[in-house]
């Protein structure tokens, strides 16, 4: 027995507390983690910057300005201008909209697919489990990046209009990401099934639907929230790689990844670093904030930490 668990025995319920809510209790514990709160602050800031920022920018129309080509950062253009004289700060914000949207949407999609298939596999087991997990195994055997590259090449051939490419990119990322999530959800379901409270549910003669929706899923959701959060960061990174190599979202739709593509040009790389460093730092700042926040969430929500 660890000292922690001995102390757990010491902690008695406080009688005076009002009707409690697990959500509020978790939130309270999360607020104590300063690092996580800071991470959340940065995430909110990045979202606000990207989605609201452009409305306050005088350069939001992306007008080509030949007089202002490749200018270094100045008071007028805080992060300089690109080869067409467009304001980099504004471009970064507009690119962020796409990058964040792709990250968020692909997370939603992969969590949806992963959680659904994982839950089906873990709850019904048998044939469904076999089929789903074998497909997951298969997808995890093929290396992710080449797989994404092939998808990316397919996109180019199908002549997907650039406006729609971002949706396909979301789909691609989800296809690559769901097996990991499905495995995790399945594992969680299987371990929950063995818990005594699930045996209690059997003895009480509860219906299958109640067992699934009232007992199993609520115990998977916290872990899912954590994984989903961390997944956004991963998706943003993957999207940037794809777009950087010209296989993801393509200009003129700006994303952080395809803005860094400027670095593929020797002159821009060496002499105009303001073209590609700001979007890179934006990716870094956003992803690190998401990761730190996600880790804080894990401390609060992951039942492994609690007892």
């Amino acid at each position: 027995m660890t000292v922690d668990s001995r102390l757990a025995g010491l902690r008695e319920p406080q009688v005076q507390r009002q009707k409690s809510s697990l959500f509020r209790q978790s939130l309270k514990r999360l607020m104590k983690n300063k690092l996580a709160v800071a991470g959340f602050g940065v995430v909110v800031f990045m979202f606000a910057l990207c989605f609201i920022g452009p409305f306050f920018s005088p350069y939001a129309d992306n007008k080509i300005n030949m007089a202002m080509m490749n200018k270094a950062p100045s008071l007028q253009h805080l992060l300089g201008t690109d080869a067409l004289g467009r304001d980099i700060l504004t471009r970064v914000m507009q690119a962020g909209r796409i990058s964040l949207t792709v990250g968020l949407a692909s997370m939603v999609l992969s969590v949806f697919i992963g959680a659904l298939l994982g839950a089906v596999a873990g709850y019904y087991r048998g044939i469904a489990d076999q089929i789903i997990m074998r497909i997951a195994d298969l997808l995890m055997t093929i290396p992710g990046l080449p797989l994404l590259f092939i998808f990316g090449a397919l996109l180019s051939e199908w002549k997907v209009p650039t406006d729609y490419r971002m949706y396909i990119v979301m789909l691609m990322l989800s296809i690559v990401n769901w097996p990991g999530l499905a495995r995790m959800v399945r594992g969680q379901m299987l371990s929950l099934r063995e818990r005594e409270f699930m045996q209690a549910a059997v003895v009480l003669g509860l219906r299958d639907s109640r067992k699934l929706f009232h007992h199993l899923l609520p115990n998977v959701v916290p872990l899912l929230i954590v994984m989903a959060t961390l997944n956004i960061g991963g998706a943003i990174l993957s999207e940037s790689v794809l777009s950087f190599f010209g296989l993801g979202v393509m200009p003129p739709t700006p994303t952080w990844g395809n803005m860094i593509d400027a670095a593929n040009n020797m002159i821009d790389f060496q002499d105009h670093p303001w073209l590609w460093i700001p979007p890179g730092l934006s990716i870094f700042a956003t992803v690190i904030a998401i990761n730190i926040f996600g880790d804080g969430l894990r401390d609060v929500l992951d039942p492994k930490q609690k007892r």
Partner: protein, 327 residues
């Protein structure tokens, strides 16, 4: 009898997320040479933390011994530097734990784990340590010692592992053996074997035992002197016969009455109402007051002191301090 260890005002606190918990609150007692002292109490009463404080092993996040002294063979354990304390630990004071299954390192062979203290404290070389380890395995009543020497913990049963733990503990002939719930995780027939063995080692080696347990049956069987703890404090102590025959504190009495005894069935069990108070919200009062049948106004506002009642028995209860109540 000379005292071997004398604890004076020991306090240990844990700083938890929800606040400060005083797990051990000004505890004083002594262990005489060759004597078995039992600390008895329910979970959370601070009996295990007391043991860990003696060993200097309270280091969980936020845990800290913050007062008192532990005089052991003329030295204050709380003021020793780390290295000196380490030389005493496992050597002059040894300890065994509740869960034999998890108390041995799963990836090290049993033999290696017995040899360690022999090599560290008695400065034996590998060869001598091996010979001694095999002797020790034989001494704790395990057949085929050579084979056991080379096996891993998961290959042995809980009872065997507790024997191995005892072998490790007695390997350096300690003056004091601290046993923290040594039989709680074991079956009754195995418990009987382990208790017998502890008694034998005590008698043959002349060591003292500090036995921590929640089981009054074990206490009656093993103890010379008994300490009853509640919410981090000692509420009663005394010789085993006096304490069992004439318990003074209402908590002690309640405990003794609420335990069903084989062969002495009653129609209804006595039970102490309520539950242990929340250690985070303790106030100046007798901590037992809201479960006590004899609760008086003074019990709610002031803490009783542990007072001698004669016959070596002490208790902390206002019932026995009536003279002072009206001060």
């Amino acid at each position: 009898m000379k005292h071997l260890m004398k604890i004076e005002g020991l306090s240990t606190v844990f700083h938890t997320e929800e606040g400060k918990v005083t797990a051990v609150d000004h505890v004083s007692f002594q262990v005489r040479e060759g004597e078995t002292v039992c600390i008895v109490g329910e979970s959370g009463c601070g009996k295990s933390v007391t043991a860990m404080s003696i060993m200097g092993l309270v280091e969980a996040p936020g845990g800290q011994v913050n007062g008192g002294q532990i005089d052991f063979a003329g030295e204050d354990l709380l003021r020793l530097d780390k290295n000196t304390l380490r030389a005493i630990r496992g050597n002059e004071i040894a300890m065994i734990f509740q869960e034999p299954m998890s108390s041995l390192n799963p990836v090290m062979k049993i033999g290696e784990q017995i040899m360690e203290p022999l090599m560290v404290h008695l400065k034996l070389n590998k060869k001598q340590a091996r010979i001694r380890a095999i002797e020790l395995i034989t001494q704790v009543g395990i057949a085929r010692p050579e084979q056991i020497f080379g096996s891993y913990p998961h290959e042995l049963s809980g009872g065997m592992l507790q024997r191995i733990m005892i072998a490790i503990a007695v390997s350096c002939s300690p003056k004091l053996l601290i046993a923290d719930e040594p039989t709680t995780a074991l079956d009754v027939t195995i418990q009987a074997q382990i208790l017998d063995m502890l008694r034998e080692f005590k008698e043959s080696g002349g060591m003292s035992i500090l036995l921590i347990t929640h089981d009054l049956g074990v206490v009656a069987e093993m103890a010379d002197y008994v300490i009853v703890m509640y919410s981090g404090q000692i509420v009663e102590e005394g010789g085993v016969v006096e304490l069992f025959n004439h318990p003074k504190h209402p908590y002690t009495r309640g405990l003794l009455k609420s335990k069903p005894v084989v062969g002495q069935r009653l129609e209804e069990l006595y039970s102490i109402p309520g539950q242990v108070p929340n250690p985070l919200t303790l106030e100046q009062s007798c901590y037992f007051h809201d479960r006590c049948e004899h609760c008086m106004p003074v019990c709610r506002s002031r803490q009783p002191r542990l007072e001698e009642l004669g016959g070596g028995q002490k208790t902390a209860c206002w019932l026995y301090e009536e003279a002072e109540v009206h001060v």
